[in-house]
Subunit: 419 residues, 2 copies
């Protein structure tokens, strides 16, 4: 296997609050084509250390990838230092400046003069275009070694790497390929999932399986090694089928899809529409659903009814319900779902009302108490759940639980229809 090193550049990555995450994504992509990451370095805006790091990395490993430090300010030293480390000059590209000027113009702004720094490229390097930012990347062969200089922002780095670096690396990479797959499971704990599927995955010796807990769901990570892509895919398919057979409807995604994507597919397939009424999640469910491009095909309307007045005004929750049961109650959740569905004239509506904390809890309804409502043409119902975690986690988990409740209802009703 080819060996690679990743160098993350930026003093902010040496502070207590920032960490380099680009290398995780890059590692996954590199592993997929059979390139192994042997070392990662995080270096500040420090010319001497960066130069030494690049030189050492090129001596030790076949592929060296740097991320960050390509911005327009004086702190952004990667361009100059990497040129120096490989003993080449920086060449000014007038056409890059013109492109940048034009881009700023489209944003209705004038290009600051400092951005000219971003038009310097290492002599002999391929320029990697950046449709999402002002810093182009660079790729250069130094003898048998390959140096790739990428911008730091993930949204710039990722498409650049996929379009312009991966294809080249793939050609020189080796015989073994690794393919990964993520299954997502809702409504079960980590140990329960592991107990249920350990006998299955342990019999697949060429697959590395790990089980991770991700905020509100369990992820089963599979990494299969084989000589061809087809072979890895066959193994992954077989293992996935066995896991799904064992865990059933709890597996909501077989290919790393998000819950909101799966729901979008379900609603689109079944030609159904949805509305959402949120109290403690404050818009999070709407935000997640509409993060999926094309959501306008099924998502009609959401109501963030944070105050009791809003619940009554917009969703026809009665004053009696609020007084007798409280805003955090099964009755209120059901009234919210019913009221939302009637308002938006959709096939389904879901609702969430709960106590996200840190304040607002009581003995009877502690922080983490959440009611989820559901309404369709035939019925209105609700469930009560108690969620651990801080405000952020309770809100996130409540939104996931609501989406999963809806998913299970849709699956149930479509299997009933089939019968």
């Amino acid at each position: 296997m080819l060996s690679a090193e990743i160098i993350a550049v930026g003093s902010e990555l040496l502070t207590p609050t920032k960490t380099d995450t680009n290398s995780l994504w890059l590692t996954e992509k590199l592993n997929e084509i059979g390139v192994e990451v042997r070392l990662k370095t995080i270096v500040g805006d420090d010319r001497a250390r960066l130069e030494e790091t690049i030189r050492d990395a090129l001596r030790r490993s076949e592929v060296v990838i740097s991320t960050g430090g390509l911005g327009p300010t004086e702190d952004d030293i990667t361009r100059e230092v990497s040129a120096k480390a490989v003993g080449r000059e920086l060449v000014f590209h007038e056409d890059l400046v013109e492109e940048l000027r034009e881009r700023f113009r489209r944003w209705g702004r004038e290009m600051p003069e400092t951005n000219k720094r971003q038009a310097y490229v290492i002599e002999g390097a391929d320029i990697l275009p950046n449709p999402n930012g002002s810093a182009v990347g660079m790729a250069i062969e130094i003898g048998a070694k390959f140096l790739v200089v990428l911008p730091g922002p993930p949204r710039e780095l990722k498409p650049m790497f996929e379009a312009h670096v991966l294809p080249t690396l793939k050609k020189s990479a080796g015989e073994i390929v690794v393919r990964r797959r993520i299954l997502r499971v809702a409504g079960m704990g980590e140990s329960a999932v592991d107990e249920a599927i350990a006998p299955i995955y342990k019999s697949f010796e060429t697959v590395e399986t790990s089980i991770l807990f991700n905020r509100s769901e369990i992820e089963v990570h599979l990494a299969a090694k084989a000589k061809t892509e087809t072979e890895t895919e066959t193994i992954l398919e077989e293992l996935t089928a066995k896991i799904v057979e064992q865990l059933g409807v709890a597996v909501f995604a077989r290919n790393g899809e998000l819950m909101e994507e799966i729901l979008g597919e379900l609603l689109t397939e079944n030609k159904k529409t949805l509305a959402v009424a949120e109290s403690c999640t404050g818009g999070l469910i709407g935000e997640r659903l509409t993060d999926v491009s094309g959501a306008s095909g099924y998502f009609i309307e959401g109501a963030v009814v944070y105050s009791n007045e809003a619940k009554m005004r917009t969703l026809n929750v009665t004053a009696e319900i609020i007084e007798r049961f409280g805003a955090v109650s099964a009755a209120c959740a059901e009234a919210m779902a019913k009221g939302m569905r009637e308002r938006a004239k959709t096939d389904y509506a879901i609702s969430v009302t709960g106590i996200a904390g840190p304040g607002g809890g009581s003995e009877e309804k502690p922080v983490g108490t959440v009611f989820i409502g559901y309404a369709d043409e035939a019925q209105t119902k609700s469930i009560k759940i108690t969620l651990p975690g801080d405000r952020y986690l309770i809100r996130w988990r409540a939104s996931s639980a609501a989406l999963d409740y809806l998913r299970r209802q849709i699956l149930k009703s479509s299997s009933e229809t089939v019968k």
Copy 2:
């Protein structure tokens, strides 16, 4: 200032799913006593690379801290390799084995023979006891350099570092402390901020300033070094005041606060209430506002009016506006804000309507076109912005722009009231 490097050891830290977080905690502790982290390395269970890394680090920096690789298995190479890197022998400590045996006995288990490996210590090193695990740490002075070898699990590493490493380092680190502060700036680009404040921060020689772009805003990171905490605070206050004087209202946070926290404070102080009407942001603004504990004091209601019907039904946007100007228009944004404010009976309402993409753009209204509406008692108005980026970024930036627009309006109206 003393300079430090941190080396995280373990092949699992070179996979796509695991990241080194020990170094973040260590960095914070080191910074507090005036030790600066200049480089971090993540290396696998790879003898040659680890040895080179330790040697290089000791040559470059005064303090070198390694974490991980002290377990009892053959993969755990840090003990041997660090001894080799500093040219010393490993010495077997019978008393450590006895302690380990006794510990295993207390757990009701017999010590596996492999654990004997954990009783080898670098010649001349101080042994750092580990009450929470079986691997002791080591600290050793090599000339004027200081090498600290710590176990990987955070609950073993942290107490060990605090009890046995910090006090020693503090003595030699001596006199300098570092305090950090983050200022946040909205409505300006990275280069514009840098051009405006470079002359200011460059005159503060004891402060390291870096300017970062964080999705929709600019962050100015300040790290002040001085002999006392009070002195660092005075310097940070002075520099912050000068930057704020230069950038004015664009600086929305002086202590790392989020936009939604700042808005919460403003609304609470002024005893005002808010409602939000969202189309393309789909609930994101509501979600951000309600992420702040106590938001129920000022946030009354949100409407996620994703479809045209919802805009008309819930916010009284007229069919004429939709037909004549389209749902993505100044007229629609203003009608949404006005309709929302009237429905929720709040002091303020803001609205967002735009094209988040990837589909839905046209020549006249390309992807990224966003209108933000604002309504208060006296007026209804709107701005048009064009945002770069993908769907995620456009939505995020639109939400930030809307919150910032509201912030500026509140600041304006409260300064007018004062007059």
